[in-house]
Structures are given as structure tokens and as C-alpha cells.
């Protein structure tokens, strides 16, 4: 069935057109064109915007603002985004990274959306014409979202305080068994002073490992120090089952991989 694609120079105009029923936003195409290729007849028209702000990366004062149309490849090669480049490179193969956008990743259902896991660990703010939302709130309400994401912004982590791990069965690239992003601050004596840990594939969308975060505070990153965090890592999770792994398997291996990430 034919699809009408409308292109608008501004996000505001595109937002207005997006209100029509059956209309989806077209970013890089890796979600919505895939859906239409698979016969999703609920999509009857597509909207996109060529607003230059959507493609901009701005870095100032230790903060990054990444436009929603910025691709994973653009993040991976950006000289000032080295701390999170590994997470962008974990998405797909080279062609997918040239297409998949930051904005789209926020809507990618598990087992996809590894970059959104990173953004959740970094406590990013998601900006739309309706206002700004902390990423956790945005992800929780994303199914009801009807506004185009303009950008995500976050404080740039120091390379040593940000860790990311994607576990796949296929090397070097495959779909996630799970992914983990951790933003950890350590005091002078090595004790953890703050921790944000985000998990991919442990629910239908990225989620925080709040119990593990709490269990790490005041602890050192050694086998004894992380034991309580690993024991509580699965708290509140509801892993997906798909052809990559069962929910049982994901739950079993989560503490193993979290332990490896924390001890590296």
C-alpha cells in the first residue's frame, strides 16, 4: 500500500502533521520502514523534518546536546563524545549506524535500543516541543508520546566514570542478549559515591537497576564490594524472551555480566 511522505522544514510543522491518525515520524527508517516492510498497515503516512537543529551536536560547559536525527555513526566518530562512542558503535553494523538515529533509539523496543540504555545511565533529558522530561519518565510514557523528539542532553561523563557492555552471541556484532551502562562516581578512597546503572533487554524498554545502585554506595569495586549489588541486580526486572535468549537465561547471566563490567 502506498505511503504518503511529507517533509517539513521545521519541527513545529512536522508536529502538526503528526497528529493525523496513522501517521508516524520517519527518522533513519530502521524502525518505521521495517514495520511497513513487515506489513504494518496501521502506518498510512509518514512525516519527517529537515530542521537543521535535529542534526546538530553541541558541546559546551561539559554538557552535550545531541539532535534527534544525529546518527549512531556521527556519535561514534565525534571527537568529544569518545566516552560514549563504544555504546554508539554497539548498535547494528556500519549501514545501520549510518541510518539509526538517537531519537529513534528512544523508541526501539527490546532487544534494540542499546544507546537509550546509555542515555538512561547518563540521566539524559529528552526535549520535545511539549517540554523537557527526564529520560526515565520519557521512556515510561513513550507509547503515548505524540511529539517529535528534538534532542537529548546530558552531562558528559569522564571516560573513567562511564562503563558500557553489550552482550551478543554473534561476534563481533549481534542482537543484544542484554546491555548494561553504568555511570559511577568514586570518592578519593575508591568508595562509590554515586551510581546509575541502566539495563537493556531486562524489560520491554531500558530500565534502572535501582537496588544494585543502592547496594554499591560506599562500597569499593572489588569482589566483596559488589557482591550485594550483583545479588540484587535482577530486582524489578522482567526480561524479554526472544530468539536470542529466554527471560530465564537473561536473568541468570545478568549478575555475571554486571560483575564483569564493574570489575574491569
Amino acid at each position: 500500500m502506498a505511503l504518503a511522505l511529507q517533509t517539513f522544514p521545521t519541527v513545529r510543522d512536522a508536529n502538526a502533521a503528526l497528529k493525523a491518525s496513522g501517521t508516524r515520524y520517519l527518522g533513519g527508517g530502521t524502525l518505521v520502514v521495517r514495520a511497513t516492510n513487515e506489513g504494518d498497515v496501521s502506518v498510512t503516512s509518514l512525516v519527517r523534518s529537515t530542521d537543521p537543529s535535529l542534526s546538530a551536536i553541541e558541546i559546551a560547559g561539559g554538557k552535550a546536546r545531541i539532535g534527534a536525527s544525529v546518527t549512531m555513526a556521527a556519535i561514534a566518530r565525534h571527537p568529544q563524545l569518545g566516552a560514549i562512542a563504544k555504546a554508539a558503535r554497539a548498535v547494528g553494523g556500519p549501514a545501520i549506524r549510518n541510518m539509526a538515529t538517537v531519537g529513534g533509539n528512544l523508541f526501539a523496543p527490546a532487544p534494540y535500543g542499546d544507546f537509550a540504555v546509555t542515555l538512561l545511565a547518563l540521566d539524559a533529558t529528552v526535549s520535545t516541543d511539549d517540554g523537557e522530561l527526564p529520560i526515565g519518565d520519557f521512556l515510561a510514557k513513550r507509547d503515548d508520546n505524540h511529539a517529535i523528539v528534538n534532542s537529548v542532553s546530558f552531562a558528559l561523563p569522564k571516560a573513567e566514570s562511564f562503563r558500557f557492555l553489550k552482550v551478543s552471541r554473534v561476534k563481533p556484532k549481534g542482537v543484544s542478549v542484554l546491555s548494561i551502562a553504568a555511570a559511577l562516581e568514586q570518592a578519593g578512597d575508591g568508595a562509590i559515591s554515586s551510581a546509575r546503572i541502566a539495563l537493556g533487554c531486562m524489560a520491554d524498554r531500558p530500565m534502572r537497576a535501582r537496588a544494585a545502585e543502592k547496594a554499591l554506595i560506599g562500597k569499593r569495586l572489588d569482589r566483596d564490594g559488589i557482591a550485594a549489588a550483583l545479588a540484587s541486580a535482577g530486582e524489578g526486572t522482567s526480561p524479554i524472551t526472544d530468539p536470542i535468549a529466554s527471560a530465564w537465561y537473561r536473568a541468570e547471566v545478568l549478575p555475571v555480566h554486571l560483575g564483569r563490567l564493574l570489575l574491569t
Binding site: A2, V33, N37, P94, A95, M99, K173
Partner: protein, 160 residues
């Protein structure tokens, strides 16, 4: 629904067509323009068989709408040979027996071409990474990796 015009440069030649709205670039290339070198495998972005080069970047033509390519420069594997002489990558694939059923080959060659365009002397790891979005069910990948490395060596010898 009214058809939409698409116009782009394909392998150095101007192409213009009318397509139905929402037509993928893969469909436009194969069924409208007659370039059947990009293959339709999964149509999900998983297999890489439809890979083409759009404005210097490797993209999946099955997930790209043709009408978003207006004004673009597109390269497919069918445009690589010049005056009947195979491109070094095509020659290396043949020589290394890197093609068996051949379905993945055009996508593999596109992915390899983008790699060699930017990294003329890649390491083995570079090659593996560059081909990581392309699936082959026949060769076990090793002949393909060797073919790309051989083509890279041939390139640098020609340049020297």
C-alpha cells in the same frame, strides 16, 4: 495515490522515475530502474544484502525510501566494473572463492568498498567490523575477509 518523482545519480548516470509513495530504494532500483545488484533478503535491516552507497555512506536500500534520495549520488555493485574490467574487489572475490550462492556478494562488496575508500590498508579486525552488518550463509566469512584484504593489497600496490 499520486506517484512521486525521484531523481538521483546512479553509478554516474542520471536516473528519474515516478514511484508510489513509500517505495523503498531497493524496490525502485530493482523493479523500476532495473539494477538488480542490490538483493532483497530480510527487509528488516538484518542481513545487509541490499547495501548500497548513498553520498559516500553505506546504507540499507530496503529501509530507505526512494523519495528521500532525491539529488543523491548512489553507487551499487553493478556500477563498479569499468569498460568490462572488474573492480579489484570483484576480482578478489572471484579469485578467493568468496562467492558461493552469491546472494550476499553485492552487499559485501559495497560494505568492503566503503571500508577501502576510507581505510586503504585495513587490518583484519577493520575488515571484520566493516562486514559485521552483512550475513553470509555459505562461505563461513573467511574467504570474504581474505578477498577484501587481497583487494586492499592490490590497491596499495597500484598506488605505489
Amino acid at each position: 495515490m499520486a506517484k512521486v518523482p525521484v531523481q538521483f545519480t546512479l553509478n554516474g548516470r542520471e536516473k528519474a522515475e515516478f514511484v508510489e509513495g513509500g517505495t523503498t530504494l531497493l524496490h525502485a532500483l530493482r523493479d523500476k530502474i532495473g539494477d538488480t545488484s542490490p538483493k532483497g533478503g530480510c527487509h528488516q535491516g538484518t542481513c545487509g544484502a541490499c547495501s548500497v552507497i548513498i553520498d559516500g555512506e553505506l546504507k540499507l536500500s530496503c529501509l530507505t525510501l526512494a523519495e528521500t534520495c532525491n539529488g543523491a549520488t548512489i553507487t551499487t555493485t553493478s556500477g563498479l566494473a569499468e569498460a568490462g574490467v572488474l573492480h579489484p574487489l570483484q576480482r578478489a572475490f572471484l579469485d578467493a572463492f568468496a562467492t558461493q550462492c552469491g546472494f550476499c556478494t553485492p552487499g559485501m562488496i559495497m560494505a568492503a568498498k566503503v571500508l577501502l575508500d576510507h581505510t586503504p590498508n585495513p587490518s583484519r579486525d577493520d575488515v571484520v567490523e566493516a562486514l559485521s552488518g552483512n550475513i553470509c550463509r555459505c562461505t563461513g566469512y573467511e574467504p570474504i575477509i581474505q578477498a577484501v584484504l587481497t583487494a586492499a593489497r592490490a590497491n596499495s600496490q597500484n598506488a605505489a
